[in-house]
């Protein structure tokens, strides 16, 4: 069983230089990113300490960059694009945070695992429940294929920190990332930091 609690050695060490921060959106509703934007004025402090090098809400880059210090990953791993991005971000990030319940548990996107396999899921969503124009989506190379099962992030790549919540509140996000900006691991304990949902 892989179990890797963050140690100070894993935490980003760059205190003087700006920390290179990435945020990634896999199979989730973007609610965790909305909660991230709820950090309000702390975003100014964050902008002073960190450079956002990849993010669906703060950058227009399409390719995941190299030498990322801290990467927040929202969402479960549900399709081949999610999987490829997860493997890439792990390769180029010193610290990966499983950001929110979908990344930590697969949560709502994982409900499709109650059906057996992608064919049954697509059939249910696009044919059985269609009001009109029922057809299966098929566009190889454009629409990413679904994986057999939706997986939590840590079942695909090693994760350094788990930040549960649906979404994690802005206060919880701040309490988790503020110490990381100073090279310290956050104290992930108690209902304010750990409660699911």
């Amino acid at each position: 069983m892989p179990d890797t609690p963050p140690s100070p050695a894993d935490a980003p060490a760059a205190v003087s230089a700006k920390l290179r921060l990435a945020t990634v959106w896999l199979a989730g509703c973007s609610g965790c990113h909305m909660s991230f934007l709820d950090l309000d004025e702390f975003l100014f402090d964050l902008a002073e300490r960190a450079e956002v090098v990849f993010s669906p809400v703060a950058s227009d880059l399409k390719a995941f960059p190299e030498n990322v210090d801290l990467c927040l990953v929202e969402g479960a791993v549900a399709n081949v694009d999610n999987l490829e991005l997860a493997l890439t971000l792990r390769q180029h990030s010193r610290m990966v945070v499983s950001f929110g319940d979908c990344a930590v548990t697969a949560n709502v996107p994982g409900l499709r695992n109650l059906l057996t396999g992608p064919e049954a899921v697509l059939e249910r969503g696009y044919v059985e429940l269609a009001d009109s124009g029922a057809q299966l989506p098929h566009a190889p190379g454009i629409v990413p294929e679904l994986l057999e099962k939706v997986l939590p992030l840590h079942e695909v790549i090693p994760v350094d920190l788990y930040l549960p919540g649906c979404p994690p509140s802005a206060e919880r996000i701040r309490a988790a990332i503020e110490p990381l900006l100073h090279g310290q691991p956050p104290r992930m304990e108690g209902a304010s930091m750990l409660r699911f949902g």
Binding site: S98, D101, T105, V108, N113, E189, F196, G197
Partner: protein, 239 residues
């Protein structure tokens, strides 16, 4: 009243004869995580969260279902116990389909509470996604088996407090399930008085009132103890 003395984490405590190790731990100021245990109901030792370690060695004991004995010495928070407790809670999450985000009990759920208590930030065990069903045949209440952890509080409160014995446990292993009547739809069981005690004591969102939606369930698990005390000791603590 005779008294037994024992040691909890090195601290001497005296409890009435017949008291459980859970009561002895509480007398020593130690709060153990519990899920199946509920004051007012017979203990069953189903959830294994309250396991304690006898200093003399030997097997771990469920504190709720073990009587305190004279001269006993137990530890409640060894590294081994912490590891087992967290493992047990992770297995609860992995075994059923517990999706907090839209659960009726989100925010007021004892499974969420114990996850926090044992420091669970994720499950190391892959989720099973078992195929279970929802029994919504009762006019007022529903049972979502996806969220059931088989604590049997509903079975016990219906049998011991309400006296209707609508609920029981059927099957074994991963097929183990709560059943109504003779495995009938809940709404067809004439023995049910619709008193709602099972809903009040359910620690998760498995049993709920139909009018409640996401995060709207607020259980009243204290009612079992309140009724028991009222009947047996004629004390009405809610007045």
């Amino acid at each position: 009243m005779s008294v037994v003395t024992l040691r909890v984490n090195g601290q001497e405590v005296a409890v009435p004869a017949g008291a459980s190790l859970l009561e002895a731990a509480r007398a020593a100021g130690v709060e153990l995580p519990t899920l199946c245990h509920l004051e007012g109901l017979t203990p069953v030792g189903a959830c294994r969260l309250c396991l304690v370690a006898p200093e003399a060695g030997g097997r771990l004991l469920p504190a709720c279902a073990t009587e305190a004995a004279e001269g006993m010495a137990i530890r409640t928070d060894t590294e081994e116990l912490q590891r087992y407790r967290r493992m047990a809670v992770e297995l609860f999450f992995a075994e059923g389909n517990h999706v907090c985000a839209f659960c009726v009990a989100n925010g007021d759920c004892e499974l969420q509470d114990v996850a926090v208590a044992v420091g669970m930030d994720h499950s190391r065990f892959p989720y099973r996604y078992p195929h279970r069903h929802v029994d919504a045949s009762h006019p007022q209440f529903a049972l979502d088996h996806h969220r059931c952890i088989l604590c049997t509080r509903c079975v016990r409160v219906c049998d011991e407090i309400e006296g209707a014995h609508v609920w029981d446990v059927a099957m074994r292993g991963s097929q183990c399930t709560i059943i109504a009547g003779l495995d009938e739809p809940w709404g067809d069981v004439e023995a049910c008085t619709s008193c709602g005690k099972c809903v009040d004591v359910c620690p998760t969102g498995a049993l709920f009132r139909k009018e409640d939606t996401t995060a709207e369930k607020h259980p009243h698990a204290e009612r079992a103890e309140l009724l028991r005390r009222a009947r047996e000791q004629h004390q009405w603590s809610n007045q």
